[in-house]
């Protein structure tokens, strides 16, 4: 699903440049649930941004679902993001003046799905994350865990090839974190490919594979025995 070969990325900081990714080689197959770990400054967020086509690499190859991702115009990048990728963020990033339902329906709007169809689908996904009764509520009326579940529903509504979660539990307490992880595991069980960036060991062990990043290179890449999150809920 994701193939990355010898990926480099550096940022210009005034006169000197900061080499963040120093040759990443990385493959993810369909249906995997991968945790990307590393301390702050290890380059994990940069890697996720490149995978999410939110940022371009300086050199190296990136293929997503057989499509080479390089030299994209903004429009093309937007199209690929919409078609291939779903995003979940640490700070939820819901649009605060739209209801839960409207937030979930937004990616479908950019897919040019009709309004009726959009609302039906969005409601469907809200039901899946257990928030059907909250459809008409604004984000400000939801708890953190509920917001993140809405965000996950939004990410899934576009039916992406890959779900990218950047510290999805970073702003949540551990009980809520486990609830969210249980949801992510459930989505993974249905066959979806998911990448989770985290720095929490217990969250990482709820994935099926852990990739450790340190100073811009992958230092460890191991399969783990998945810990099911339901048992903590």
């Amino acid at each position: 699903m994701i193939e990355i070969k010898d990926l480099h990325k550096s940022y210009k900081m005034g006169s000197n440049s900061l080499h963040v990714l120093k040759g990443i080689n990385f493959t993810v197959k369909a249906g995997e649930l991968v945790a990307i770990m590393g301390s702050s400054g290890s380059g994990k967020s940069t890697l996720l941004n490149i995978i999410g086509i939110l940022d371009g690499a300086d050199s190296g190859d990136y293929t997503l679902d057989g499509v080479p991702i390089e030299d994209l115009t903004e429009t093309k990048a937007a199209q690929y993001r919409n078609k291939f990728l779903g995003f979940v963020f640490q700070s939820f990033n819901l649009i605060n003046y739209k209801t839960a339902l409207e937030n979930v329906a937004l990616p479908l709007y950019y897919q040019k799905v009709g309004r009726k169809e959009r609302q039906k689908k969005a409601l469907n996904y809200l039901e899946k994350v257990g928030l059907k009764e909250w459809a008409t509520h604004l984000p400000s009326e939801l708890s953190g865990g509920q917001k993140q579940r809405v965000a996950i529903a939004r990410a899934m509504a576009a039916e992406p090839k890959v779900l990218l979660a950047d510290e999805p539990t970073g702003a949540l307490d551990s009980k809520t974190s486990y609830e969210v992880m249980a949801l992510i595991q459930q989505i993974n069980d249905e066959g979806n490919t998911i990448l989770v960036v985290t720095h929490e060991e217990d969250i990482a062990h709820m994935c099926k594979r852990i990739v450790h990043l340190k100073d811009g290179v992958i230092v460890e890449d191991k399969k783990v025995e998945q810990v099911r999150a339901e048992q903590y809920v």
Partner: protein, 414 residues
Amino acid sequence: MFDIERWQEIFDTIRKNKLRTFLTGLSVASGIFILVILLGFGQGMQNGIEQEFKQDASTSVWAWPGVTSKEYKGLNPGRRIQFINENFDKVSTMYRDDIEYESARIFVRDVNVNYGKEALVYSVQGVYSDFQFIENTGMIDGRFINYQDEISTGKVAIIGKKIQKDVFNEVETPIGEFIDISGIPFKIIGVFKEMREREEERIYIPITTAQRVFNGGNRINNLSYTLPPVENFDQAVAQAVNFKNNLQSYLQQAHTVAPDDTGAMQVWSAMEEAERYYGLTSNIKIFFWFVGICTIVAGVVGVSNIMLIVVRERTREIGIRKALGAKPWSIIGMILHESIFVTAISGFTGLIFSMGLLELVGPNVEVDYVSNPSVSFNVAFATVLVLILAGTLAGFVPAWRAARVQVIESLRDE
């Protein structure tokens, strides 16, 4: 533009950001409001000045005698010029083709006017029949002096409406009544009205009668003419200037006056005067447009500024939208569409308010040189279109900036 989804998006954003939208709209609405009021006032000035010139025939040319101020051909300055019948007749034959109506006038002085036992203190003026058309005198009863009265030195009089109101309020009509001018009875045959009440306090009698009966000899006090109508304003001005110069040089020759002696006589052309005022109004109109355009520019800068703030405020939202697959043009379209929609609605609001105000107050404004300020709908509509266009331009920079929002930076946690 006709994408219903986009409209729903816009109504959503507007509903959720009422104050911001209101403030944006207010600057645009007041811009249009000020512009329309200014233009209306400019139109009002034009109307007022046009009205000011309607009281006399617009092509009229007048000559008044004065006192010489320069020595000329051995004659001393300080000589009083007196026009005589011969001057009038000469001009009449020399410029027959240039003249439409002509009249000399004499002010009959030192006479007592009585109606029955009542003494009337109104000026008595001897004029020719053409004078009616030169002064734009409207008859509301009876008739004006005619040629027959002139040759027969008829004892007839035409009185102003004000005199009828003041003196003849007890009779049904003053026509057929007799007034007594220095012991000679004159029959009233007509009542006239003028634009100004002051000019209705006159009694007109035939000039021939005035000269013969009241010892006027061949003296006349002024000359007045109108010129035949021509196709356009410029031609009319040229014709008036030409005739005025001819008349002036003839009179100067006839009375041995230096050509550059401005005090000896005054020759005045309404057309020339009108041209000066029209030049003034068009200058004022240009000035008002200039001020109006500046107001709109200020409004546009305001809109642009507010939209920049909007973009900044919504950076995160735009970042989210882009992450979810919004294309750059969809972001540009969203911001532009909103700015145009808000500009158009508030522009129309300002337009309706200002036009309403002009409509209500305009007809009641009757000051000198300002009358019925109003704007033609076309002008107003054009300004709204200009404003919308300007709003689009103003919205484009912020929209472009919105499209350039970097997703990663906008979503970075503060």
